[in-house]
């Protein structure tokens, strides 16, 4: 079992319901394919520094996962077909730190 961080960027013109649906959908996908969601962070609507596919903003969702390489393949194939998602990134870690949140501080200030 390995630890991963999976971030997904949804389109800016979606409503809040759609974003919640996307979050549920991927959490279920991971849990069903011999994986486990440890934590979900919502970074909210953030500006891009450059345009990505003619969009200037995006909803950021951040998953912290424990799973196997099989589960990652499933997620990648599904995300590439998903039309609501602009871009995604997965990073492998040996140890995850669940405490520090870099984007939660911005909301309070």
């Amino acid at each position: 079992m390995n630890f991963y961080e999976h971030t997904v960027i949804a389109k800016q013109n979606l409503s809040q319901k759609d974003v919640d649906n996307i979050e549920k959908k991927y959490a279920e996908l991971i849990n069903n394919n011999s994986g486990k969601v440890l934590k979900i962070e919502k970074w909210g609507l953030l500006n891009f520094k450059r345009k990505i596919k003619n969009y200037t903003k995006g909803y950021f969702l951040h998953f912290k996962i424990e799973g196997e390489p099989k589960t990652l393949e499933e997620i990648k194939t599904k995300t590439k077909l998903d039309s609501n998602i602009v871009r995604f990134l997965t990073v492998k870690y040996k140890n995850l730190d669940l405490k520090t949140e870099y984007f939660a501080k911005n909301k309070n200030t």
Partner: protein, 89 residues
């Protein structure tokens, strides 16, 4: 007499030499900011830290200028590229 000599030695600074042609013994060296104790964590989510090591035109600053050690510079470059993929940097 001994005391005077000691004071003279301490007050003598290599930077205060009169002639320009003599080489100064002082070195202007800084330590790597990431190999100190309690160093900040290099991560692609830590944007405020990564922004210090990037120019205005989004280029990575060389380790000659920023004095980051070789291993840490490689890690920095990797994390900056990850952040650029997400469009945060």
């Amino acid at each position: 007499m001994k005391k005077r000599k000691k004071n003279f030695k301490n007050s003598k600074n290599s930077l205060n030499k009169l002639s320009l042609f003599q080489k100064s013994d002082a070195r202007f060296s800084r330590k790597c900011p990431f190999s100190v104790k309690n160093a900040p964590n290099i991560d692609y989510k830590n944007i405020s830290l990564l922004q210090k090591y990037i120019t205005e035109t989004n280029k990575i600053i060389t380790s000659k200028i920023s004095n980051v050690s070789l291993g840490k510079q490689k890690k920095l470059a990797r994390e900056i590229k990850k952040a650029k993929i997400l469009g945060i940097l």
